[in-house]
Symmetry: T
Subunit: 152 residues, 12 copies
Amino acid sequence: MLLLHGPNLNLLGTREPSVYGTTTLADINAACEALALAYGVALKSLQSNHEGDLIDALHEARGQALGVVINAGAYTHTSIALRDAISAVQLPTVEVHLSNVYAREEFRHHSVIAAVCIGQISGFGWRSYLLGVQALLEHLGMGRTALGTSGQ
Amino acid sequence: MLLLHGPNLNLLGTREPSVYGTTTLADINAACEALALAYGVALKSLQSNHEGDLIDALHEARGQALGVVINAGAYTHTSIALRDAISAVQLPTVEVHLSNVYAREEFRHHSVIAAVCIGQISGFGWRSYLLGVQALLEHLGMGRTALGTSGQ
Amino acid sequence: MLLLHGPNLNLLGTREPSVYGTTTLADINAACEALALAYGVALKSLQSNHEGDLIDALHEARGQALGVVINAGAYTHTSIALRDAISAVQLPTVEVHLSNVYAREEFRHHSVIAAVCIGQISGFGWRSYLLGVQALLEHLGMGRTALGTSGQ
Amino acid sequence: MLLLHGPNLNLLGTREPSVYGTTTLADINAACEALALAYGVALKSLQSNHEGDLIDALHEARGQALGVVINAGAYTHTSIALRDAISAVQLPTVEVHLSNVYAREEFRHHSVIAAVCIGQISGFGWRSYLLGVQALLEHLGMGRTALGTSGQ
Amino acid sequence: MLLLHGPNLNLLGTREPSVYGTTTLADINAACEALALAYGVALKSLQSNHEGDLIDALHEARGQALGVVINAGAYTHTSIALRDAISAVQLPTVEVHLSNVYAREEFRHHSVIAAVCIGQISGFGWRSYLLGVQALLEHLGMGRTALGTSGQ
Amino acid sequence: MLLLHGPNLNLLGTREPSVYGTTTLADINAACEALALAYGVALKSLQSNHEGDLIDALHEARGQALGVVINAGAYTHTSIALRDAISAVQLPTVEVHLSNVYAREEFRHHSVIAAVCIGQISGFGWRSYLLGVQALLEHLGMGRTALGTSGQ
Amino acid sequence: MLLLHGPNLNLLGTREPSVYGTTTLADINAACEALALAYGVALKSLQSNHEGDLIDALHEARGQALGVVINAGAYTHTSIALRDAISAVQLPTVEVHLSNVYAREEFRHHSVIAAVCIGQISGFGWRSYLLGVQALLEHLGMGRTALGTSGQ
Amino acid sequence: MLLLHGPNLNLLGTREPSVYGTTTLADINAACEALALAYGVALKSLQSNHEGDLIDALHEARGQALGVVINAGAYTHTSIALRDAISAVQLPTVEVHLSNVYAREEFRHHSVIAAVCIGQISGFGWRSYLLGVQALLEHLGMGRTALGTSGQ
Amino acid sequence: MLLLHGPNLNLLGTREPSVYGTTTLADINAACEALALAYGVALKSLQSNHEGDLIDALHEARGQALGVVINAGAYTHTSIALRDAISAVQLPTVEVHLSNVYAREEFRHHSVIAAVCIGQISGFGWRSYLLGVQALLEHLGMGRTALGTSGQ
Amino acid sequence: MLLLHGPNLNLLGTREPSVYGTTTLADINAACEALALAYGVALKSLQSNHEGDLIDALHEARGQALGVVINAGAYTHTSIALRDAISAVQLPTVEVHLSNVYAREEFRHHSVIAAVCIGQISGFGWRSYLLGVQALLEHLGMGRTALGTSGQ
Amino acid sequence: MLLLHGPNLNLLGTREPSVYGTTTLADINAACEALALAYGVALKSLQSNHEGDLIDALHEARGQALGVVINAGAYTHTSIALRDAISAVQLPTVEVHLSNVYAREEFRHHSVIAAVCIGQISGFGWRSYLLGVQALLEHLGMGRTALGTSGQ
Amino acid sequence: MLLLHGPNLNLLGTREPSVYGTTTLADINAACEALALAYGVALKSLQSNHEGDLIDALHEARGQALGVVINAGAYTHTSIALRDAISAVQLPTVEVHLSNVYAREEFRHHSVIAAVCIGQISGFGWRSYLLGVQALLEHLGMGRTALGTSGQ
């Protein structure tokens, strides 16, 4: 499983803590790794401020990772290239956001990658990541919950 | 904890199963109730096709419920009255959707209630509800995960 | 067959007669019932000012009625919930309007239910209803006209 | 009574039958003629791919025809000239469409002629024409149905 | 005279007091009733979170009430059905708002009912209601002020 | 207290009386002056067709007047300079209009000064002014009505 | 000099006389011909409901006519092809309209040919044509007025 | 007859001569005065850079002038106050422009005064003014041309 | 193979040569014919300023031509009727333009026929036509290039 | 000559073959190289998922390459920086696309680089590249076709 | 050199000091005058709340001043007349703003005068003026900095 | 102090000199360095065509630089990621542009970074940079000018 972080997320825990809390990216990566491992799945994480690096990482995950959890940061709102990469590698992808993007500036309300992801989780701080990892595992049929036949 | 379902969700499991799966609303209510109980919290659920009923239910939850998980269905996109109700009762509220609304018609991409909720979970079928209940419990400090200081 | 009337249509025959004529809703219901009966089909009619009531009535018609003729009144322009209900119950539905909505205020030019109905008939006063009932019966293959193979 | 068909409708029955069926324009003209005759009214039909021909035909109908049934095809969405012609000749005009235009591409949702017609009938395949002829005759007071005083 | 209150106004005095003050709806109703009585006019008040209830109440006021003072709350911005009801019952109607809606979110700047009311009063807290009752009485020629011939 | 009238209002009583009535601006000024005096407050009035004069008058009112009642006429819709003046002088200001601007041309529906005023009163002819003076006095705590604690 | 009339103008004098008067197109052609002749210039006129005919006529005027006066009727608002024709033949062209198009429906406010004409004259009934002929002659330096150096 | 010139037109003949020519405003005023006198009508002209001055001049012309020819300059595009003044004084008004405004920046394509004028003449340099004076005189029935019954 | 030219292209080589060059339409037709013949395919060409003629020509090509190369000129931007014709005759169609339409006025940036063509070639002057003929032949499998399996 | 490929094109032949075919980027590069060599021109190709790499490559081509063929992938729709690079290096540039972008999602219909390229070729799969190379060579006067004087 | 201040700037130092500081307009004028004098240039300053006064002042500066520094206040966003004046007098003009207008309300983000000025300086409080004076002097070649050949 | 240059600025002095002059980036860097040093402040400069490099450089400047002067080139209009970086590192940042962006294409009028910078300087060629460095130093209280208390 690949955990991708977009631009400026490396500053997490130090950048505008009133908005994003003091938890660092390393904390989040470790917690997600632990959660995935509890399901028997390895998790690799990557952060980059470079749009191209995120795309490269998705390409490399083809045939390697079971799926992707991504917080694309500001590229969420502008990167059709990232959208095409998600669509092209055909790995189930979960979009997460730390903050409730719908309670912030209007230009943060639109995600160009949303339509090619399985689903979105936003607004729960670092917990959005853990919920995202869990949601992806469940989607892959590796979760612990079962309830009839799920729809689309 | 209050679990609210908006219009047409009573048909779940029978309505357009290729989109929403065969799980019924009763199944979902039972699973959410069980999950909440596992955290020691009672969960009450209500479905209505009437905008006013959903508002009345939110009003009655004031001072009673710890928080709300809501799938407002089509009212998600049109009901400012529901938004005002969520805002007025001042209970932490999680917005959930069965399908990935961003992969459907454009008019389903905008939620008028999103800005007054804590966060959103969409696209994971009935699992969106369970993730929503879990997210709300974590937000209330009743969850089992802890990781530094959460941001907004 | 279900004949549904939306908000304010109960005032028909008394409300703004220069726009809608003096024919009452009871007159229209009786005429439609008679027409349907002439084809051997029972017709049940309902008017409500409550969006939720109209949705409830559609739900109840599932597996009962052969189809629906609906004048959703002002909900035509705003109710995605009603659209979802029509779509969910999967009954062939004909949208009718008394007046030519395209010759009135701009906000009356858009119907959010049109895309999930079979077709539309507007502008012929109470005759729109009778034409609607007839069109539905023909669509169901119960009419008296036949002409090659109809398209979509 | 004049029955006008706009561009590409001459291909009817051969063009995209999955959308428009196999009934030909000749079939429709004959059926409409028969229906009108049953009311004692002569019906003349014309198809053209030329916007100007349709306008010329409307001009010639002044003082000759009792009214017009028109499927303006693609000119429905673009021809203000046709709108002005309908308005200028002051003949009651019914707008018909084979398919439910509101379930197709967005640019087909707007009719520039709708506001100057009596009413619209769309989505019932070739039956839209027959319903249109009938609606026009009823509007002219030559129909067989009577029900109080009709509104606008 | 009918005094109508829309959704969430039942929470007045308890909901977001920094925005709406601590005066309750009962206080307002009593004050308006007293003011109307001082002019010799009975005032009946109703609050509902149900769009349909507000429409029903307007219908019942036909031929009974002299006029209407309405704070439609969130339905102000979305309910064409309510607009049609006000227009249909043909009672002089005054639109009031507690807060200055133009200093709040953009979606609160547009009122779909404004064009069919006599006038608007907004921004004066509970005083908006009293000014509204007074304005309606003056409009009805029952006030105490006179000054030449008023325009539209 | 300052009573300001914008462009063309000097023609009142003679300009389009079917829209604005025959009451002159002098009549209105006198009535407002009398009303304010009844509360023990002096009222000074000014009309100008010059945007700059209205701004100058607001500047001069700083530290002199208790508040402002303004009908900015057409400048309501275009003058950011006037808005800035109202905001800068920090006097409580009530916006009034003779006609129901929402029932007129679309470009009259937007007020650029509304957000920096206390509230709006429109549609009651010359009575809008008297209600405006009264509303301002009440807002200043100089009125005769009292009812709990008013909100924003 | 070429005088071109677009769609529906052949009905002039009979079509909606309250809007366009009772003067016929023949009257206008004769008056324009007489006016041009008084300046020693021959004038040829053509009316067509066919966009292509108007374009053909412009092409034929190349190298023949001194300039063009055109009332393109509804094609004014839609025909880029006509605009390209005017631009291509490089004859000075004056755009005229009988009615004040800015006082009619919004879709009549935009002219796609205006930018490639010399100027516009609208709102003076049949006099718009005569003023147009005169303006073109003056522009060509054949008029009787002289006043310094004209700008663009 | 009043001839009004808006902002910056005093620079005519010196300002951007490649756009406006070298004819001065004094030249134009003299020529228009001479033309009007030839019809037995006195013409008074005024130029101002002040929106309020133009409005004042229109007010003063009430009951004095037979009509108005106005080149409102940049106020053409922004001044609703000027529009209201033209509408209020109820004098027939002709809008003129030196240049073809439709061939310049997009913000010059819209005139807020057009709908309340009789008609427009633009693009003929100083000749636009002379044509405007002539058009007004003709409209007033003082011209030398007659041709049946003019329309609106 | 059919080569279609829309309005004003008959002027090619004489119209605005700085934009379109001095090559005439006859030159282009001859060159395209020669190129097609080199592949063993006959090419028929037609130019018309009449939208209806272009549609008629497409209809006649059904079952006759292998495909279509079309420069629809200004109808590219406005003719839904032409789009429907291309779609209806179901012949592979290549859209070509002489100039780079994206470097010209904004209204030339949108093609209403693009979505129903195979592809577009624009900006290469008369070479756009030759490239278009070649592209169509290759698409038909009659070209001389081969490279794996082509996608959509 | 430089052949540039934007983001995700490295996956060609493996990514969504139903849309893009099974031809790989290496196949295309080889075929283009061979075609260019046949004209005696060397072709260098580069693919990158990094916007900055594409800009760097364009800068390096200044004074080296004769021209550029570019499929900018998703950066076509978003990268003003790429547009500025194309404009700055002043090399003739041809824009190509594998698929008909106008038949896909609306956000793919707009190219921010189109206006600074010579022309566009889209929709012919890998043949778009070969046609693009050929078009560039012809534009450079190195092709084998000659036909009068080409326009812009 | 002319230093122009638009509406409400006379209140500087007293108006909303948290936004604009306590420096008065007299302070700024004196500092700018001193700075200009240090370069040997006289500076004259003017403030007015009247749009026409600002235009008049620009006209008077023609042939007198070397250039203009202007803070047009709210007229920045609305006055095309001011834009035309700047353009007409053909003096190099620098636009300055005290606050960062892009961090305030959206309607302050657009300047109608920006395109006809040399450049803009905003956000540095009273320093914006001094930087503006300096920038103008440098632009006039009277500054003390030199560095190769400046572009546009 | 960090001086950042965005995409294509490395070509300065060679790229489109008629727009940007012949001064090279090295010239500008040297001049800015010298100016900063005159204030006792070290200046480090960086140019990159890679969005990610600019973000990385901002991150590295945290706690190192006193502030930032940035000409983000084309990323000014598209990079929310850059905006977030500026906001995150919390260093006072001045936005500069060589050309007057408001006199160029419309898509260059909007800056996504403006709202998180202190202020903007544009249109003065290489002098924009020097003015920017000076403005930043003044803002930091390190300048040589003092004048009361500055506002925001």
